[in-house]
Structures are given as C-alpha cells and as structure tokens.
C-alpha cells in the first residue's frame, strides 16, 4: 500500500508540473511583452534583446521538440531553478523559502488545534446525548459551514484588529524585533499569527466536531461498546479507549483532505491578514500575472499536500491495527 501511495504521489507531482508547463507554454503574449519591458528598463538593455531572453528563459516559442522542452523544464525544477519572480526580481526559490515557515507555522497549529478540540467536543456530544452540547455542536457546525473561511477571517479582522485593536492588522512580526530565537521575537510572531490561526480553527473545528460526533455516534451503536458497559468498565475508560480510539479513525482519514483544503484556501486568508505566507504571495503572483512565482508556489503547495497525505497515511496505520503498511 505504501509503495502504491508513493507511486501515486510521484505521479501527482508530475501531473502538477505538467500543468504548470502547459500554463507557461500558453502564457498570453502580452505577459511576455510586459516582462520584457520590465527587464529592458531595469537592466538597461534593448527591448528586442530582453524579449528574446525572456522567451528563451521560459522556452516559449523555442524550436526544440516539446519533449525536450519538457525535459529541460523538469530538470530545471529539480535543480531548484524556478526562474526569477517578475515582480520582486529575485529567484522564486528564495520567496518560497521565506514564505513557507509562516504558512507551516499557522497551518500546523490550526490543524492540530481544530482537530483536537473538534474531536473532544464531538465525542462528548455523542457520549452525552440530548444535551445542550449536542444542539450547540449542530448549530455551530452549520453556521461555520455556511460561512466561507475568508469571511470568517474578515469578521475577525474587523472585530479584533480594526475595532478592538487587540491584534495587528498585518505582517508576521513587529519590525522592531530582531528575528531569531529570542522571546520577544517569538511573542511577536505568535501575536501576529493569532488571528490567522483563529480564522482557520474557528472555521474547521465545526467540521471536525460534526464528523467526530457522527463517527462516535455510530461507534456507540457497535456491540463492543455495549459489551464494555456490560463488563462494568469505568465510564472514563469506555469513553477514551473504547469510544474515542475507534471513533477518531474515520475523521483521521479526512485529515489529509482538510490540509489540502486549508493550503488551498491560504491565498484568501493570508491575503486578508496580509500575512506573508505562501498563499499571500500566491495571490499576489496571480493578480499580477507573475508566472514564474505562480508556478513555483503552485508546485510547492502540491508537494506540501502530498507530503501531508503521506504523513497522515503513516500515522493512520499506527492508529488502526487492521491496516498494515507494506502489505
């Protein structure tokens, strides 16, 4: 199974690369025109020369057969050469590395937070039937499900940043702190990450609660729960090792998809908070038609989702003894 998964992942990465290859190949002519114009003015070379150079850089209109172009393109990617950003005039790879940590920080905290909180509340709601908690879970999940994540972010921004001024409006840390491993910096980072994390968490926790509640409800109908009660086990033990351990499995399989969704939506949320992660730059790149940057960040997002997928699979096989990796 693991080998199959890895093969599919490799295949997916190639599919994503091919997609960007086709996109770059079909770049509208006026984009190259404006890129050349930029290059000509910044480097002080004639427009014609710049135009040809840009075309050469992306292999647009080259005479080589398509497969040679594709091969060259893939080879470049593996060498880490993703070209220069049109807008920032620096290698794409540098932007990727500067943006990635911020996105990872916010996403990892949000996913863990929302999953854990959602799982606990969902299980409790299923365990204690017909209580206020159950109606709360349903209502909360419906409302957050009806609210697109970027609107949640906008609401948080308006309330906490604009009006209450409790949190900053933009950025990842204060300009007056020195980046590095010092308390001031860490506090500043967390302070700035707070609203984005909240936006993701508030948005996602409802889904987890609902999923966990449904899963726990169905587990509660299983014979082994009744059997455990008949065996006179303590409630706490039944709730944790009999109900919880089993109920967490189906939501867990959705974890990878959720990570994909969050990474995909990061363009919106990070833009709302002007938080300099992958999504923020991606949004900018698309809006300004910065093709090299767009392509690099898109590949990075895809690889990120695939790695998250594989990690989730590995973790799952540790949770469920019925699944064996390698079989």
């Amino acid at each position: 199974m693991l080998i199959k998964k890895i093969l599919i992942s490799v295949f997916t990465i190639f599919a994503a690369m091919s997609l960007t290859f086709v996109l770059v190949r079909n770049m509208p002519g006026d984009i190259i025109y404006s890129m050349a114009l930029d290059k000509a003015s910044t480097e002080g070379i004639p427009f014609d020369v710049a135009y040809e150079e840009i075309k050469g850089m992306y292999g647009v209109g080259a005479d080589d057969p398509l497969y040679v172009q594709y091969f060259r393109y893939v080879a470049n990617i593996f060498r880490g050469n993703l070209g220069d950003s049109v807008q920032y005039q620096i290698p794409v790879i540098r932007i990727m590395f500067s943006a990635l940590p911020w996105t990872l920080l916010v996403l990892s905290i949000s996913i863990v937070l929302s999953f854990v909180v959602g799982a606990i509340i969902g299980t409790l709601a299923a365990w204690k039937r017909k209580t206020l908690l159950e109606s709360f879970v349903t209502a909360y999940a419906s409302i957050t499900d009806a609210t697109p994540d970027y609107l949640t972010a906008v609401i948080l921004l308006i309330i906490f940043a604009v009006n209450l001024r409790l949190f900053p409006l933009k950025g990842a840390y204060n300009v007056d702190v020195t980046p590095g491993f010092n308390l001031k910096f860490i506090i500043s980072v967390l302070y700035h990450a707070f609203l984005p994390i909240m936006a993701y968490t508030i948005e996602n926790v409802g889904g987890w609660m609902l999923m966990m509640k449904a899963s726990a409800t169905s587990v509660l109908g299983e014979d082994y729960i009744t059997a455990a009660q008949m065996r006179g086990l303590r409630e706490r033990r039944i709730a944790i090792s009999y109900l919880g351990k089993n109920a967490i499995l189906p939501p867990f399989t959705r974890l990878a998809i959720a990570i994909g969704g969050m990474l995909g939506g990061s363009a919106l949320i990070e833009s709302v908070f002007a938080y300099p992660g992958i999504g923020f730059f991606f949004g900018k790149a698309v809006a300004l038609r910065d093709y090299p940057l767009m392509q690099g960040l898109f590949l990075l997002t895809t690889v990120g989702v695939i790695v998250a997928n594989l990690l989730a699979d590995l973790l799952y096989s540790r949770l469920d003894p019925r699944v064996k990796v390698g079989e």
Binding site: M1, I3, G326, E327
Partner: protein, 333 residues
C-alpha cells in the same frame, strides 16, 4: 431420454487474488460434477465458505467456471467468450431486502418482468394479483403499492419467488432462502417451494447449511454435501441421511441440532481432530478432510479420493468407506 435441466461437468473455479508481489490462488470449487434432473429438488449442503454459493452461481451462468462445462438442457452455455443462451434458471437470494429494488413498489417490481415475458398491458394487473395470491401475499391489493421496507422478511421472500417464476424457469437456485426468516415461518417458504415444484415442475437447487431444512424440502429428492470446494457425498436424500458414509457428513449429522431434548442429549458429537477449518488458499493435500478426520490414514494425506457410487444412487469420496464405523440415526424419541 431428455437431457437434465442442468449438468455440471468437472467444474472448477479458481480466484486469483493479487497481493503485494505475489499471487494467491483460491480454489472455491474443484472439479465438481453434478446433475439436476427435470422437476427434481437437489439440496446442496455445506458450511460457510465451502463453495456452495459459488457453485450455485456457476450453475446459473452468472459466473464462468475457470474450467469444466455447464450444460443447460444438454447445451453448453459457455461457448467462446460469452454466454450463449438466455438464462433458463432463476435465483432467489438469502437477503430478500437486497433482492428487491428499495425504490420500487411491489407492483413495479412485478410489472417489468411480466411485460418482458409477453403479458399484455391490459392483463398485467390481473396477472400480478394472481401471482401474489399464489405465493400467499394476500390480499394482493393491500400490498401492490408497498415498498420493500414496508414488508416483513417472509412477505418479501414470497415476492421474490413470485418474480422468479414469471419467466417460467426450468430451475431455480435458492441460496439460503430461509436463513433470515423467523423460525416459525421458515417452513412456509419451503412449502411454497414445494408447491412451485409440484405445480410448475420447476426443479430446485436448494443451497443451505441447515441439514434439517434440506431434509424437509428434498425429502423426495437428492442431496449433495460439499466440503472445501468438493462434493464428498451425494445421492438420494433418504438413503444418504440414513446411511451417511463420509466422516465429514457423519460429523455434521452428529452435531445437527435436534428439537427434541431426549434425542438431542443422546447423540454425542463425532470428535474431530481439529475444529478450525484450514485457511483459504491453503488447501490440504490428498483428502481435504484429513486434517480434521478422526480416521485419517497415510493414504488420505497423499491421494485425493474419487467420488464412487457405493450403493445405488449413493456416491461417496472417501478412501476408508469400509473402515469408517456405520452411521445410524435410528433414534427414537
């Protein structure tokens, strides 16, 4: 002499399971030869996983055997790559709920095949009423617009039987038709099968793990006992039940529940060497029962026994027929 409605000649079914870097062959059915004569009831008994359901599906032409021939009324139904003839048999499944389309009413369920088999539109309503009356779903008008989930298991199974006789099949394969029905109603379904057999001359292949019901239904018919994909004993039902010869069938009979306290307490189960069935894909060599058989000898581990006719219409596949103690079930209450 007309050919039998169904004839299986050396039929085998091998499934290939692809696991990681290896292929596992699972033999579900091995060289089974069987005959279902016109108007006959044949009970096919065996435990879970012995291949009896697979054999039933092969008999109908729903599955193509990996080797061997399936003949319906004397003609080979598999020719070249596809099934040649139309189905002359019908199937009745164990789960009557799954056998009926959940979104269609009783009327809709029966109407389609009636129209397909030539009933005129104006006669359809009348025909459906007649059918329902016949299978004991009365009063018919009450049931016409019911959905399957409105009905009890017994009623659903009757409707399944009603549907299955519409094309006037030569034979019906009934795969555990009563195992999901309340005990007090089981005989009524068996009685219905007997009535269909008598009035329409439909032959039945009754697949079951319940020996007592096989004995009830096929009292004038025959029985075939399967173990791990092979037929180990076969013949006239009365004869086979009275003079069971294969140790496996003896063991089954010795543990078959009897609804009579004194008789039930008298019979001691035949002690087997091993209670667990061998794993699928790891069939024992020689006689497949030798791992559990209390009488097994060296020859049993080496050579597979052939099915031999030991008495008139009584076939047994065992090397040690003469040595296995005689079995009698002549127990009075």
């Amino acid at each position: 002499m007309t050919p039998p409605v169904l004839q299986l000649k050396e039929v085998s079914m091998v499934y290939v399971k692809k696991a990681f870097l290896q292929k596992i062959c699972v033999e579900a059915v091995t060289k089974v030869s069987l005959e279902l004569r016109d108007n006959e009831i044949l009970a096919l008994v065996g435990e879970t996983g012995c291949g009896k359901s697979t054999l039933g599906r092969i008999a109908l032409g729903l599955l193509r055997p990996t080797s061997g021939k399936v003949l319906h009324l004397g003609t080979d139904i598999w020719d070249g790559n596809s099934r040649k003839s139309r189905f002359i048999g019908q199937i009745v499944h164990q789960d009557s709920y799954a056998a009926l389309n959940p979104v269609r009413t009783v009327y809709q369920t029966l109407r389609a095949p009636l129209v397909r088999y030539g009933t005129k539109h104006k006669d359809v309503d009348e025909e459906i009423r007649k059918l329902l009356e016949f299978v004991g779903v009365t009063p018919p008008d009450y049931f016409l617009n019911k959905y399957p989930y409105h009905l009890s298991g017994g009623m659903r199974q009757r409707i399944v039987f009603a549907r299955s006789i519409i094309p006037k099949p030569k034979f019906i394969v009934a795969d555990e038709p009563i195992s999901m029905i309340d005990p007090s109603l089981r005989l009524s379904i068996l009685d219905l099968m007997m009535r269909l057999n008598e009035e329409f001359g439909t032959a039945f292949l009754y697949i079951t793990h319940d020996l007592a019901s096989a004995r009830y239904l096929a009292r004038r018919g025959r029985i075939a006992v399967m173990y791990l994909g092979e037929i180990v004993e076969m013949g006239n039902l009365q004869e086979v039940f009275e003079k069971a010869k294969h140790p496996y069938f003896q063991a089954l009979l010795s543990v078959a529940p009897i609804p009579d306290p004194r008789a039930a307490r008298k019979i001691r189960p035949l002690k087997l060497k091993n209670v667990e069935l061998p794993k699928a894909g790891e069939l024992p060599s020689g006689c497949r029962f030798h791992t559990r058989c209390p009488y097994a000898r060296k020859i049993c581990t080496e050579e597979p026994p052939r099915l031999r006719e030991v008495e008139k219409d009584h076939w047994v596949a065992c090397h040690l027929i003469e040595e296995v103690p005689k079995w009698t079930l002549a127990l009075e209450r």
